[in-house]
Amino acid sequence: MQDFRYAARQLLRNPVFTIAAILTLALGIGAVAAIFTVLRGVVLDPLPFPDQDRLVRLTSPVPGIGESARWDLSNAQYFHFREHADAFDRVGVWQITGQTAQVSDEAIRAISAIVSTDMMALLGAQAAHGRVIGPHDNRPDAAPVVMLSHEFWQREFAGDPAVIGRSLELEGQTLEIIGIMAPGVRLPGDSGLSGQVEQPELWTAMRLDSAGPFFNSHVFLGMARLAEGVSVERAEDEISRVTARLPEVFPEVYDEGFIDQFGFRTQLTPLKAFELGDMAGHLWLLFGAIGLVLLIALANVANLFLVRVEGRHRELAVRAAVGASRGAIARHVLMEAMVLAGLGGILALLGASLGVRLLVANAPEILPRMDNVGLDAGIVLFVVSVSVLAGLALTALVLARYRNDPVADVVGGETRSATAGIDRQRIRAGLVAGQVALALVLLVGAGLLIQTYQKLGDIDPGFEPEPVIRMQLHLPNAQYRNHAAVWRFHGELMERVEALPGVVSASVGNPLPISGEYLCVAQDFDSAIPADRVRNGDETACGDLVVTAPGYFETLGIPVLAGRTFTHSDLDHPDTGAVVVSETFADRFWPGEDPLGKGVRPMMMPGDPPQYYRVIGVVGDVPEASLEGPKPAAIYYPITPKPGEGLPLNPSLNLHLIVNTGQAARLDLIPAIREIVQVLDASVPISLVGTLGDDVADSKSQVSFIMTLLAIAAIAALLLAAVGLYGVIAYLVARRTNEIGIRMALGATPRRVERTVVAGSMKMVGLGLIAGLLAAMLLTRLMHGMLYGITPGDPGTYLLAAALLAAIGLIAAYLPARRGARLNPVAALREE
C-alpha cells in the first residue's frame, strides 16, 4: 500500500509524463481490445448451435461445369446420405425463399425457411410458444404447418400468444401456426455468396418423399452433424464413397458419365469456416496490425518510463545506499508501471467501448455475426491481462537497464562521461528502431490496400450502375402460374414506369450484375465443335443463366457488341427462340466464329422434343459478384421460353425491376413506382429496393472496411512513432547538452551539430526501416487474397512508405537538433 501511495504521488508530481503515458497506453490497449472484441464475436466464439464443432456444410463442387461451381444438394443426395452415411449423426436440408403471406388482409413479403426433418435438432431450435416442427410434420402427407419467428410474431401479431393454432395463408396455401420460435434461433450463414443470409421470418416443414421422384436438381442447402469421434477427413472419405454410389442407387438421376465428366463430388466444410469465409483471415490480420500499434505505444511509454526512471537514478541510488534491496527498488518501479498500466487500461475500456460501437455501426453488411459483438466480462479480463502484461514489460525493461547495482551508477563513472551510457542508448535506439519498423509494416499494409481500393475504383464494370434503381418483385405463384402471365404483368409495368417523367428506360431481369446470384446451368449446343470441346473436357458446359426482358441491356448500359437485343415481339412470340450471349460466352464456345445464329439451349431441360434457341446478339461482360472477380459467361434467355418448354426456373421468377433515371438514380421516383406496382397488383410485395450504385459500393465494402481500419492503424502508428522519435531524440539532445558543448568548444559549427544529431537519429530510423522492410515483405504475404491489381511486394509502395517514415524521422530529429545547435556552449559545458 505504501508503494502504491508512493507511486501515485510520484506520478501526480509529473502530470505531463503521467498523462502522456496513460493516453498512449489507452490508445494502444483500447484499439487492441476493440478489434479483439470483433474478432472474438465473429471468429472465436462458437456458433449458437449444439455441438457446433461437429457441424459441417455439405456442398457439391462440379469443377467440370466451372472452376468455382459449387452446387447444393439434390433430394436424392439427401436421402442417400441419411440412409448410408454412417459418419453423420444427423443430416438436414433447407431452402430459404421469399414468400407472400396474407396477414390481416395485407400481402406481406416474408422470408421463409423450408426445413427438413432433423433441422430443428441440428439448429437447437426451441419454441417460445407452442411447439417446433417435428418429424411427423415433414411427412409428405402431413398437414402444412408454420412457425413464426419471434420478431415476425411481435411485429405482425403484436406478440399475441393466441395466434397458436390459427391459420396463415402463404402463397395461397393455408398453414397452421404451431409455434413461435425462441429469439436467436437462426440458420447458418454463407459468406461465400451474397453476404449475410437473411434470417427467416417463417419456418415451414419440407415434405420430401423418400420414395421420389428424384431430380438432379441441386437446390437444397445441406448440413450434417458428424458422429461422435468422426473427423471431417474421415467423414469426407466415407462421403466420397457414398457419393460414388449415387448412379447405382439413383440411375434415373445420376449416371457415371456425369460424375466422371464433371468431377461431381460432395464436400464437407466445418460450419464456422463456411460461414466466415475469408473474413476470419482478414480479421486476424487486422488484429495483428492493431497489435503492432500496441507494441509501438508500449515502446513509446517504455522510452518515457526509462527517461523518467533515469531522471530519478540518484534517488534510487540513495535508496539503495541506505539499504533498499533490489527487490524493494523493483517493487517501486513495478508499482509505478502498474498504476500507469491500470489507469491506461481503464481508459482503454472506455475507448474500446466507443470503438466497438463505431465498428459495429460502420461494418459492411457482409461481415457476419456482428450481432454477437459486444463488450463483456471476457473483454474486461482481456484488457486487464494486456494492461498487466504492459506493466510487467515496462518494469522488466527498467530492471534490465538497472541490472547492475544502482549505487554504482551514481557513485561510478557516470559523471565523467558526457553522454548517456552505451547500454541505455542501445535500449532506446532499439525501441525507436522497433517503432519505425512496426510503423513501416503498417504503412506498407495500408498502402497496398489503399491502392487495391483505387484500382477497384478504376475497373470498368461493363455497365452503368449509377443511374439505375432496382427492386425485386415477388409475383404470387398462385396467380402467375405461367410465363405468359408473368410477361403480361411485367410488360405492363415496364410501359407504365417508362411513362414516368425522369425515367429513361425500364426493364426486368434476374439476376442483376454484381449480385453474385448467377446460376450456372449446363448448356447444350447444336454445332459439333463446342459440344466436342465440352465432351473432351477442354471446356466446361457452364453458362450463367439470366432471364431478361426487352430494355434490360439498355437500362443497365450494357453495350451491344453484335446483332441486337430482345424486342417485345421476341417475348410476345417466344417460338422464335431468341437468345443473347455475353462476350465471354461467345469466346468460350465459339472462339473465332460468328456466334450470331448459333443454336444453344439449357442442358437437361424438360420438354420434348428439345429445340435450340438462336443467338440474336452479343453483349459486353458484366461482373458476377465483385468488380475484380470473374466475368460470367452469361446467356440471356427471355422470360417467356419457347412453347412446350420451361426454363429451370419458377415461372414467377422474382424478377428485379430496373429503372434508369438518367444521370443519377432518382430515389424520389420510388414511391411513384411502388404505386404503379400496387395499382397493377396489390398482392405483389416489393423487396430489395435500392440502387445498383450501392451494390457496386457494397462490393468494395470489405476492402474499404479493412483498408480504413488499417489506414487508421497506420496513421496512429505513424503519429506514435513520430512522437516517440521526437521524444527520444529531444531527450538524447538534452542528455547530450554537455557533449554538444564540448563539440562546439572543439570547433563544431551549429550546422555541424545539427548534422551530427540528425545523422545519429537517422541511423536509428534507418535501422528501423531496414528491419521494417524485411518484416513487411514477410507479413504482407498474408494479404495476398485481399489485394487486387498489386502484388504484396510492390516496390513503389515500400519505397513510398519508407520515404514517408524517413521524412517524418528527419523532421522529428531536426527539431531537437536545431535546438541543440542553438545552445550556448558555455552553458552547455556546465551541464552535467
Binding site: R416, A418, T419, A420, R743, M744, A745, G747
Partner: protein
C-alpha cells in the same frame, strides 16, 4: 547631426583602439592575443551582473600564463571569451592578428577549431567515443583532413601525452589522470595557437594533478602557448606570468594581496560583530 557626430567619434575610438593592438603587434610580432577594455555583463531576471569590467590583456606566442583569483571573480568568463565560446558585451579582441569579438557563431567555431585547444576541469571526453575518436574529434570539424591524417595526428598526439596504449578504450575505462591526458592530447591534435586550460587539475588527486602540470610545462618548453585558469597558487606559480583577477578586473600582485587582506579583515569584523550580538 548629433548622431553623425556620435558615429564619427565611434570611428575615431575604433581606429585608436585598433591601432593600439596594431602598434603592439608591430612592437612585438609574437603578440597572439590582444584584449582591450573587455566587458561582460550578464542579464538574468532583470539582475545585471558585471562579470568582467574592462579587461586589458595581451598574450604573446609561446607564453605560459596563469589566471588566478577568488571564486566569482570572472576567471571562467574570461577564459570563455578567450576561447571564443562567448562574446564580450563590449571591448576589442584580436586573436592571431584577426578581430574576433564580433564574428558570427560559425566563424567563431572555425577559429576555435583552428586556433584554440581546450583542456577542461571535468575532462569533457565524449563517453560514447573511444580514446582515439575523442582525440580525432577536432580534426573531423576541419575540412580537408583525410581519415588517415586524422588517425596519424591523433596517434602522434596521444604518444606525446603517453596515452597511445589506450587508444581503443572508452573514457569510463580510464582513471581521472589518464582522461585528462587524453583531453590534453585532444587539445593538441589540431596544433592550435593557444591551449586554454580551465582548472585542469581540479578533478584530480595531487599526484595526477602534478603529472598534468608537468605535462603542460613540457608542452610549453616545446613552444606551446598556454593560458591556464587555476585556484591553486602552487600551480599558478609554475606559469611564466600570473594574472590576478578581482571583481572582473585585472590587478597586480600587490593590489591583489591588499584586496584579499581587506576582504579577510571585513569577514573577521563581521564574525566578531555577529558573536558580540
Amino acid at each position: 547631426m548629433e548622431k553623425q557626430i556620435h558615429c564619427f567619434l565611434c570611428i575615431l575610438i575604433l581606429l585608436a583602439t585598433n591601432s593600439l593592438c596594431v602598434n603592439k603587434t608591430m612592437n612585438s610580432e609574437e603578440l597572439l592575443i590582444c584584449m582591450q577594455n573587455i566587458k561582460k555583463v550578464f542579464y538574468t531576471d532583470e539582475v545585471e551582473t558585471r562579470a568582467l569590467a574592462g579587461i586589458e590583456l595581451d598574450i604573446r606566442q609561446g607564453e605560459y600564463l596563469s589566471i588566478t583569483g577568488p571564486s566569482g571573480c570572472g576567471k571562467s568568463t574570461l577564459l570563455s571569451l578567450l576561447g571564443l565560446l562567448d562574446t564580450p558585451t563590449e571591448g576589442r579582441y584580436r586573436l592571431a592578428g584577426s578581430e574576433v569579438a564580433d564574428l558570427s557563431i560559425a566563424d567563431r567555431a572555425h577559429i576555435r577549431n583552428k586556433e584554440i585547444g581546450f583542456i577542461f576541469q571535468a575532462f569533457n571526453l565524449i563517453g560514447d567515443l573511444k580514446v582515439i575518436e575523442n582525440v580525432e574529434l577536432p580534426l573531423t570539424y576541419r575540412p580537408g583532413v583525410s581519415r588517415k591524417e586524422r588517425r596519424d595526428r591523433a596517434l602522434e598526439s596521444l604518444e606525446r601525452v603517453g596515452m597511445a596504449h589506450r587508444l581503443n578504450h572508452y573514457p569510463s575505462q580510464l582513471s581521472g589522470g589518464q582522461q585528462q591526458r587524453v583531453a590534453v592530447a585532444r587539445a593538441l591534435v589540431g596544433q592550435p595557437s593557444i591551449l586554454l586550460a580551465d582548472e585542469p587539475t581540479g578533478n584530480l588527486d595531487s599526484r595526477n594533478g602534478e603529472q598534468v602540470m608537468l605535462l603542460l610545462e613540457e608542452l610549453h618548453k616545446h613552444g606551446a602557448t598556454i593560458c591556464m585558469v587555476t585556484h591553486d597558487p602552487r600551480y599558478a606559480a609554475m606559469a611564466e606570468r600570473q594574472i590576478f583577477l578581482f571583481d572582473g578586473q585585472v590587478v597586480d600582485e600587490e593590489e591583489m594581496q591588499r584586496l584579499r587582506d581587506e576582504e579577510d579583515r571585513r569577514v573577521r569584523e563581521l564574525a566578531m560583530a555577529d558573536r558580540s550580538a
